[in-house]
Symmetry: D2
Subunit: 377 residues, 4 copies
Amino acid sequence: MKRPLIMTPGPTSIHEEVRRSLSEQITNPDLDMHFFDFYKETCSKLQRVLKTDNDVLILNGEGILGLEAACASLIEPGDRVLCIDNGIFGNGFGDFARMYGAEVVYFKSDYRKAVNVLALEKFLDNDNAFTVATLVHCETPSGITNSVEQICQLLNKFGIISVVDSVSGIGGEPIETDKWKMDIVLGGSQKCLSAPPGLTFLSISEKAWKKILNRRLPIAGYYVNLSIWKDWYQNREFPYTQPINDIFGFHTAIERWLSDENPLLRHKVIGEAARKSLIEAGLELFPLEGFSNTVTTINIPENTKFKDVFNSMLEDHNILIAGAFGFLKDKVIRIGHMGENCYEDRLYVALKALDNVFRKNNVKLNVELHKAFISKL
Amino acid sequence: MKRPLIMTPGPTSIHEEVRRSLSEQITNPDLDMHFFDFYKETCSKLQRVLKTDNDVLILNGEGILGLEAACASLIEPGDRVLCIDNGIFGNGFGDFARMYGAEVVYFKSDYRKAVNVLALEKFLDNDNAFTVATLVHCETPSGITNSVEQICQLLNKFGIISVVDSVSGIGGEPIETDKWKMDIVLGGSQKCLSAPPGLTFLSISEKAWKKILNRRLPIAGYYVNLSIWKDWYQNREFPYTQPINDIFGFHTAIERWLSDENPLLRHKVIGEAARKSLIEAGLELFPLEGFSNTVTTINIPENTKFKDVFNSMLEDHNILIAGAFGFLKDKVIRIGHMGENCYEDRLYVALKALDNVFRKNNVKLNVELHKAFISKL
Amino acid sequence: MKRPLIMTPGPTSIHEEVRRSLSEQITNPDLDMHFFDFYKETCSKLQRVLKTDNDVLILNGEGILGLEAACASLIEPGDRVLCIDNGIFGNGFGDFARMYGAEVVYFKSDYRKAVNVLALEKFLDNDNAFTVATLVHCETPSGITNSVEQICQLLNKFGIISVVDSVSGIGGEPIETDKWKMDIVLGGSQKCLSAPPGLTFLSISEKAWKKILNRRLPIAGYYVNLSIWKDWYQNREFPYTQPINDIFGFHTAIERWLSDENPLLRHKVIGEAARKSLIEAGLELFPLEGFSNTVTTINIPENTKFKDVFNSMLEDHNILIAGAFGFLKDKVIRIGHMGENCYEDRLYVALKALDNVFRKNNVKLNVELHKAFISKL
Amino acid sequence: MKRPLIMTPGPTSIHEEVRRSLSEQITNPDLDMHFFDFYKETCSKLQRVLKTDNDVLILNGEGILGLEAACASLIEPGDRVLCIDNGIFGNGFGDFARMYGAEVVYFKSDYRKAVNVLALEKFLDNDNAFTVATLVHCETPSGITNSVEQICQLLNKFGIISVVDSVSGIGGEPIETDKWKMDIVLGGSQKCLSAPPGLTFLSISEKAWKKILNRRLPIAGYYVNLSIWKDWYQNREFPYTQPINDIFGFHTAIERWLSDENPLLRHKVIGEAARKSLIEAGLELFPLEGFSNTVTTINIPENTKFKDVFNSMLEDHNILIAGAFGFLKDKVIRIGHMGENCYEDRLYVALKALDNVFRKNNVKLNVELHKAFISKL
């Protein structure tokens, strides 16, 4: 397999240091006491990323497993769950809640904007009898970041447990789990932390643990059951054999993030420069506001086909970009600027290629994308 | 972390080639068409290991996920499920079936012997109204291998779908999925195939697919739902982002197994020599018959404590061995001879250390373990 | 050791693929017949780089070893040797010739220009009683490339054996060993081929071999004696144990070069853009003509100190650039754009940093270096 | 290239940790001040291996370069040099001395025994007008270790500078450079220290430096000239660009040796057990006394051909063993037990294969080699 430059909204390029860690010799993670400490230390580092004292767990599965585990463990049949929905991922969250028996109520907000917090507040003033609310920090398909700061504090005011999918937010967008009263925050290894895909992690507040551990009915599943993790460290026993090489790699990836000078500022600067250059060139962003700093979504220019742009980027420039799915299928192009890909030389290369591909596809551009980009930095 | 020699029944040592594959640069597994073919090719290689034309899937999770996914996808509330039980793992299988609504009936067989097939046949002649039966190929905690050859053909005769946990069997014990009419066979990456822990895989017969796809009720979960994989290749769409580095490593590990001259014979020869040397020294195996060729379980000699043997092996010789759990906790020592650890020099080193540790713990041995071992090869 | 971006005129960054090859398990290079073929194949690939059918040897030592070996093996006490000298390296070549007994005659040419071929021709018309002539393809300290095409053909016309140091030329500047009648061409692993430092190689024409093998006096040394290599392949015997890991890495590096679309054009485009941007900014190149495409040398701007620029590049930007030595010490800055470092994103990053450092050191620049650079591509 | 197990007297297997160090990203070793300290620290570690406070240098070349550099730098035309000769390497040392102008006098000693120190003493009582003496610590072709302890102290008594080739001794045989008054001790990276081939190193006493720096005539060569290294650290200037990746690997290899519990005892125990088992089987060692602990040389049994044993070991068992050259060509088999290959499991595997190959070649053996071997441990 020839390896392209993957400027997609995750997985991202993985730094060689991280890949070297992946390839270290292993011990038996069930029997070697050192590994329990290593795993715990990895969780502690994630606490620093998430700014939280809450428990953090790393599960052996893709991001969707974290999301499902949160729903499965928290929600009991009959629970009223508020699904805050301003995009494909936000909406889909409701399906997982319903799968575990929730009565789901949707708060809908414009799909091209960040969640309207004032409207949400008004909505909650009217109806707040929810045990749990689900929301998405960064709507990866549309490139919109929601104000989890305001929303989670609002939910907290009403005593509602917040479950936040921040898979493509963590590491690229500010997050203050404890200060913002976020109950469950979920992430994946392969986005802004730039580890390989395969791990998901979540922080769990005391309030969330209380609900999980005081259910009337058992949790419907083992692999999605968070309660089996409750005392793993005290007991030195994992619910299943841990993917030790993946943990090695993830540990190094988190260390890289933590030792980086200011990764959040970097994402902000690069994200803004990318957007401004695209706009200046005359292209249209899909979001009208609430722009994500980790992924930029632009509408496919008229008379252009996504497939042509995608293929030309790959074949002529060896760069992978993404489209989207659902109602956005074939309508948008997405460029990831996450983690290891969020550097100016990477974007320079990607935007120069995109400039070239657009022109070949007869898209009129007011400026050269890559030059506009570097002039905004 | 100092890395010991891990002579445990999985995870095993991982060959450097496999670890190098883990550390290769990645592409985006959701968007790069080459990866779909690579994943498929990996599954094809597993078909060769399992001797089957059935579909094979690799899931992003530990072995227990494969087991749960099989139960969750196959079993509907009310299904009568036969749990063939001659050990801790066999018995626990019933819990998973019950979790997904099964009415579980246990066929119990002596925990120190392979499943009594004649007794099972008699049992089934009497009562065979089961949709599904669960069984374990190799009971890892006790070191017993069951005759899946006879049992699965028997179950098939009665139209019962067999679900076989062969996590510690595949790659070390003979398996003929199609010939022996095994409906679902599950494995893990970290046992006799000597890849890192983190992946589980299963082969699924037409009969099993039919039941999965013609349920009355939906499957209670997403991550454990096998039906969402049905047309992944035709649609070039995975249910979630695949753990591409793990798949790289697993691919290489399977290739190594396939290009090995006769790995099954190697496991047989090493397993037999290990058992014979331990017996000749005067030690007692836990199993009375049905000895596994991938893990050997011996009873802790009188006046000896597991913890002392374990610690001394680790501290004085830097070798990790295993005990067991459940009713075997502190009663047995387990030595894995799986995959990359199933070579005479590895066993020589481990048995020499064990000989030394036993003597220091005042265990009388009739022969020197390592010398007895090499004389049996 | 923290690793900086090394934008120096060699060693260059080494691609991960090359470093992975370095780390492969080895065989015994003296006894394993496969290695003789591997080494030979590596030489054949170098023949393709050098465009020659002449023998190519790889020696276990730095570039200077190749140069010394050529002098030691070719030159006999009393030989009249012409030293073509338009720079520090060209001049130093004469010292090596003299060390091995030559009566050295210098042809001096302006140190800020390529060798004046017309003047050389006139010189030779007058006096051409030389057995050997030494010259440098690319004067690394000053950043000047000489026309080996014209010079070697001229020398050949007079029957003079040419010995060309192309250490920093090969792989970055055009070279046509056979067509241009170059007798001995020497290179090093760590320049435009971007392998680790530690190997030198040379191509040897029939005419050169004849002189080496028909000396009156023995060669004064073993490690520098090329004649001991004469039939290494036929005899399957190396003069000493070969540095097999280095050869593994070098092999991969050469393969990368050969499979690159047009590395010479890449060096030309990047080299030109770098020079033009520096000039447009108001800086002064050291060379007046004969600009190298692999290294650019600029005069230190007035009121600026090399050490300040060097330190600031390293400390504030983690980029290593070079100064020079001899009469150029503290007078110039050198930026390498060789091999793996000869890509626009690398130069973009380096020139942006340099722009910043110059401004901090009160150097007035007419344009922004990095922006000027990308506008020239 | 398929990689065999290389049980040859160097190069040896290289530990994965060492190979990983080889593959690290580099800095510019000429310009990065950290590298000067790293190189120096590597030399300091070698001082600990050699038990010396003398300067240690690492040169970019094979072992033979160290030997030649010592001769070239020390010896002036007309110097009387004593060549202590009890083997092929000892004898050849004289050729290097002569190449640099020495009048060489040979002290011959039985080629199947260690140097006769009493005879040497008597010889020196008679004639001791030598500036320099050359000797070999471990005669790799014959597997004989000389008493450098006695010889160097004896030479010192007569004021003669000793130059000791300990390429296959260092790391496997005791060495006390300062206590035993060894003036120059030379080694190679690829023997008992188990780094890749490509580096040589030497320790240089004050007495040796004095001679080198106070010559009447210049040293005839640059690459072999030790005097150019005199103040490399103070000046932060290497005579040529250092092979940084090789130094990385060597550093790790030396660290492994230093952190090993008792590598010299390990070589002694393994060496003795190997010899005893071969003798017990009825085979004949080439040496009559002075057995090396790093390589064992046995005479080819009657009616057997070296080529057959060599080929069968390689083809049937994937193990490389060595023969020898010169007068030993086709007469002996050599098995290395050096560095990473000096472990009982390695010898067990090699001797089991050799047992099998000998029997297939109709060599009568009194015992099974591998079983005899482990019974001697």
